[in-house]
Symmetry: D2
Subunit: 481 residues, 4 copies
């Protein structure tokens, strides 16, 4: 039997990172962040690698978080996934001893070191995060705290030097010491905020960090240094860092610790010929990351069982064609469409050219469920759609896709939309509008129509029959044949 | 001081005609209507004058009116303007005596004749209308009953013969007898339903009846007989009919009696050169109709003061260029754009090519207010927009336009959106989607996102700050430069 | 074996009517033509039935025919099909006796009556036509003279009255007398110009005369009077008129006499389901007209063998769906696409929305060839394409389609492009640009690129390998998915 | 007086590089070229920096040059600018002594060293170039030989290492030794081919080499290493290399030696506010390069007078806005439009998004003429337009722009279109179609319509009145508002 309602304890909410939303007022600068340096780098701007938009002109969550929370509350949202910025909490390097031990892989993470670290934290930033998170809690919104959403403090990462091929200790994930340092930082967050969250995530989309930073370098992600080898090294350090962080955090909390991952759904150009490619792509893109964490991987020194839950970010699919033993991802589909037109499959595309493909979310969820049987959250899903033309359809049809997965047995515990309010979309700057809510030049929030649609869904915990028609591909107008 | 709230007694609601919405079930046929005959005429269909869509496949308000009313109630609507169909109430001709007297212009409309007429009414239809209107009343929705919204009974009108140039008594508004017959019918409605309505309208958009029926005959309106002379004759008969109906109705009711009119806002192509054209066009399009009714016109035998209120229907503007003493209306603007693209002014167009021009509504209201100082309702305003892409903007920006007029002093008492539910758009059939609500193959209603937006406005009696951003021209996407 | 060259005696040329091209200078007015009256009629203009463009602002062939001919000569063209205007040659009615006899169906067409008629002809117009045609001859361009290309003299046709349903003798093809009058006029042309032409055509697209004049009345063709019955009557009179004209003309000339017909190629929406519809549509559209002329039809009094050749006009296809015993032609294909976009089949459309479908020309030719084995000319083929974007492809791919038919055995003797120079496209006025050549405000001719392409083909009598790539559907650009 | 004809000795022709056109057959590989290595680099392909198209699948000029030349001859072309590939002539390093001397800046270029070098040249390649150029000469087509069109031999350049920040001697233009080596190579070409050419160019668009290679690295040009400092160093070495090459070449030949440069025309967003930006941009983009060569520059050791002529490559403009003391180039104009739509100025864009802006060519020519009074050739001008929709307009309107400059006094001696045949457009691969001529899978050439237009112009040495209409912006269709 198909159920129309979501499970009673299912949570509708939103996802948000620190760097993309916090700044916007003079007193809220996060200039000790490597991403801050990166997007201000003149050569990066001149070359078009980054937009030239400045994150300090953002929506200003750091100051006006209450208006964000109030809007979410009015929208009936019950969960938020928010990131904390390492560079805010520790704008200066960890003490030398810790740095040295981490370098030697001899750091022990325990209460002593955590209370030691507490002396070095930026107290104002720490208290401000706690204030923000308390405000969330007081509104009966459950919080998932995410430790890492791409920026690192400048004392760990100098992406401009890496981009230039200059040797530097501050090479971010390329320097092995980060494994222990990250675990320490994550543990410290739990140590200070254990009561504020219902769950923790170590990282958001770590696969994008090495994918865009070292392979798809036109994306303009730091360090834009093209190297499969470095990508691979970063991937390994990330796996180790999560594992160590997991173990350390679980010593302090019983709350579930997970990771949030960027997913696409692979479709074969020709189902008869290209199916092999799908299995291979899934293995490369997903299982090669999750199997070590869940099943263990000797070469990485990971003994498995390092995840209590999986966070699924999903935006669109990827079309594949088999190519020898491997595969090629085809232009004109998925993430590589042209803006505001249709793909070869007559699917509409978003303001940044991403294809409308809601069924992929169900299938991605089922892929994970069938392989791991772990609880899941949809931790990101949304569309760059300034006019809010497609978002009502996008929202309903992707949520309907989640419901179908639940009705097939998948344990999905929440759907967190990306994003509540328009924010800084990394190298693309402010032009992509992912928010259910926009903001004006005074940083007043205004609702897009889909915010009302989401409110209907969140409040009723179902897609009510009146909204069912939005579970479809948006009609293609004359100009969008 | 600009007020953000609408006056406390301001009503948000919707407008609806009989013929366009009632049918949809087997037991609800209205086949004694000349429009029914017209859209079934094989030659009309073959020629493309009419769509070939059949009104008997409509949304079925006659049967499922409660679901319409319930939706409106949920949407916070407080007023409805609904039409009654002469052909349903009197599928057979009025008694001979009445017909003969009307022909001689010697009919007296009084209680005797009304109670005589009562014997000939279709009791089932009458009671069903009363049942429908009571349901509206019971939901605390104010009702304006409109007597005439284009169809006539076949015993009065045979448009196919008129189209062919065949002489016939059944020539609708071309036969003078209709003046008294219409007044009688209208009075009868008041006689039977006085308590159900808060106001009455004699006619909806009479100017379209002769404009499309006798001038713009590509519109496919009956009788599609091209003749300025006939257009003029119909106009005069309509003016006389309204006047006589007004006098007759006011003998029975104190409630305000008005008329509903199709308006456009005239803009000059070159403000320096073409301004004369505007005054002339306004005079031709509006004042030549309203002045006789309000100020009187000896040649028509109308002594003025025949309106208690004015109903303003507005969809888009008309661009004019001076041409000699007259003017030319320009293609590529207003009603004559191409579907789903932009006009030369970079304004977006709707699914049927109408231009987005909200400021025109304010100006049209002010035109009327400055000239007549009569109370007004916006009795129609809406957009054909299946995807609901522009409607949220259309809705908010037109309602904001009304508010600006109110803040300038105009006495506007309500805004009635066209329409609540998708319906039969005359010769165009079902393809234009004007509804806040659509319906599926089981005639279940589904809400478009803008229905939620309208609910916000109607419920709060203002355009709340969160929605202000929708008071703008919809963003033009890549494809819609 | 497939031949790449056209037969040695194959002619490339162009087609042109009188009314559409002749006017353009003050001394060249053709105001005794019913089409002249029709397009000047204020009600027609006001209603949008006609464009408001005035044919007297045309390209001015009457005066500057030499520049037309010179361009054609430079282009390597060897054949022209040109129309003469009855209203120019006989602006006043034929003598009473002739009118009376024609009414009684008792007119005898012989040398006596032709020499009698010679007294009434407008000598200036006659001599001017002869002058024009001699100039063509002197340039070694073969001429086909066409007698009737839609306009009639006003003394035979008052379409405005017919449109109004007013009884009139001047009802054009509805008045039976036209059968003999037309035969007389056609014979007179042969009588005076036999030596100037290589072949004669009685009529151009007679099927459009009744199809658009009495059925598809939104096309704005005179008399825009909707009546299947009248359409049928006109069709019969046209068939009789051609037959009588054929017999009369052949008494004077041995040169081949044919008729030029408007064709479309019918394609089934679903080849498995809709094939019956194709046969029926072909029968209705083509065989019901040609069978009587070729095989005879007792009820019409036609004994067959009335055609020496068939002129095929082809622009695009028509998509059909079976509907009961009949069929429906589908919107969004063929003639009913939207301008400058693509159809559902991803075929591009022209400036007036016609679909690119070159293969249809081959199939239409083969249809005729298989049924009648008569010689054929392609007498019209072209595209409204102001930018000349698709015309190079259109030209080559349609000419290639003709070549395929020839290689299959069809006897096609020439290809005449519509048109050499932009002209007056009837109710649409000047906006559709069908010319290989345009003209500026001084009526100077300028070549579009496809004129150079046509020159290559005409000069070499083949589609040279260098041009083969143009035998394809034009590439769909980003905006034209 | 405005002349309509071009000067009698004006040459219409085409431009072509080696790397982009030569390959296409197995025996024609140029795999010792750094660009060959670059576009085959797996990381480059995977990252999307390069297209993945392989130059060895090109049009194959090396083998079928005669079909190119024959087409040009048929088109009436009288001049060609062709590049030679260093890597073909010297696939192996120059002898050690030469390398060492160049490193020490102590190389003397004289007949001895040239005859010494002759021992090391690839004789087959040398003879083949001579054979090709003789074929050009025999067809009465004047030849300009260009020495450098971006690729370097791999023994001089390892762009993948440079991209990675790895120190290498093979750093191309970053290694100072190239100054003397380039001068030697250029002199050697003159030494061997002096009689085959009417003029020589040292380099094609050297400004793109450092602009795209070190600044706009998303373009995917080698080495895609972002560094203003390196860009500046390369610029200086290029200036020195040209100067030395000029002096060395002029010792061997009297024929004019020039340089070919990539130009854009700068337009101010707001002519009242942004004019300062134009002067500054012109200085940065043009005068900072040409002034040292022509007027001399002590710091570079250049004493001026190093150019006999200037080659102007022009495709579109650049829109600027003043920004502080500098300027910003605006997106949505010039080179940064979206494909196949219009810019904010309603100018159409090409298949790769470049804006149609013909007037810029005239102005750029006049800029040079007014400053330097040197003879000029337009050495590149063309459009990526697979459908050949805009190219007829582009061709005529840019050639008309050249004519206007000539009529104002500029000494422009020829117009060389880019390109004759579609070729390999560097990192973009084969998808941009710049050819007047395309080719099929058998490398047969097919003409686009504009080839016929160009033939008209080249043959008549003027834009004949019949083609004047093409001197305009292409009409914007429905879809291209």
């Amino acid at each position: 039997m198909v159920e129309n309602n979501f499970p009673e304890d299912f949570k509708f909410g939103w996802s948000q990172s620190g760097f993309q939303s916090e700044m916007g007022y003079d007193n809220a600068m996060d200039d000790k962040s490597d991403w801050y340096v990166w997007v201000h780098d003149k050569e990066n701007i001149q070359s078009g690698l980054v937009s030239g938009d400045m994150p300090e002109n953002g929506p200003g969550y750091w100051n006006n978080y209450k208006s964000f929370h109030e809007a979410a509350q009015n929208m009936g949202l019950k969960m938020a996934r928010i990131g904390v910025e390492w560079s805010r909490l520790f704008p200066e390097p960890f003490p030398e001893k810790i740095m040295a031990d981490a370098k030697n892989n001899s750091l022990e993470i325990n209460n002593n070191i955590l209370s030691e670290l507490d002396k070095y934290v930026n107290k104002d930033a720490l208290n401000h995060y706690i204030e923000i998170f308390n405000d969330i809690k007081n509104r009966n919104i459950d919080l998932i705290i995410n430790m890492y959403h791409w920026p690192l403090p400048v004392w760990l990462s100098d992406p401009v030097s890496v981009r230039k091929g200059i040797k530097t200790e501050r090479s971010g994930w390329l320097n092995d010491r980060i494994v222990q340092l990250f675990a320490l930082f994550s543990s410290y967050i739990v140590y200070k905020m254990e009561d504020l969250a219902v769950a923790f995530s170590t990282m958001n989309e770590p696969n994008v960090v090495y994918g865009n930073g070292f392979i798809n370098i036109k994306s303009g992600f730091p360090p834009s240094y093209l190297s499969s080898e470095f990508a691979s090294k970063v991937k390994n350090n990330i796996l180790k860092a999560h594992s160590l962080a997991y173990d350390s955090m679980k010593k302090i909390t019983d709350k579930p610790v997970g990771i949030i991952y960027a997913n696409t759904y692979f479709t074969p150009l020709d189902p008869e010929k290209d199916n092999d490619a799908i299995a291979k792509a899934d293995s490369d893109a997903k299982w090669s990351f999750f199997d070590p964490l869940i099943k263990g991987d000797k070469s990485l020194g990971i003994n498995g069982n390092k995840l209590d839950w999986i966070g699924i970010n999903y935006y669109t699919r990827t079309m594949l064609r088999k190519d020898g033993d491997g595969y090629i991802s085809l232009k004109g589909y998925g993430h590589s469409g042209s803006p505001n037109t249709v793909t070869n499959d007559k699917r509409p595309t978003s303001d940044i050219g991403w294809e409308f493909y809601p069924e992929g979310l169900e299938y991605v969820i089922m892929n994970y469920w069938n392989r791991y049987k772990l609880p899941m959250y949809v931790t990101e899903n949304g569309i760059a759609d300034n006019g809010d033309y497609q978002r009502p359809y996008y929202l309903v049809s992707h949520i309907a896709s989640v419901l179908r997965a639940i009705n097939k047995g998948a344990n999905v515990k929440g759907y967190l939309h990306w994003s509540l309010v328009d924010n800084y979309e990394w190298a693309l700057g402010f032009s992509p509008k992912f928010g259910l809510i926009g903001y004006d030049e005074n940083k007043k929030l205004y609702w897009r129509p889909s915010a009302l649609v989401y409110k209907e869904i969140a409040t009723k915990n179902c897609i009510s029959p009146e909204l069912k028609h939005l579970d479809s591909i948006p009609p293609i107008n004359g100009l969008r044949k």
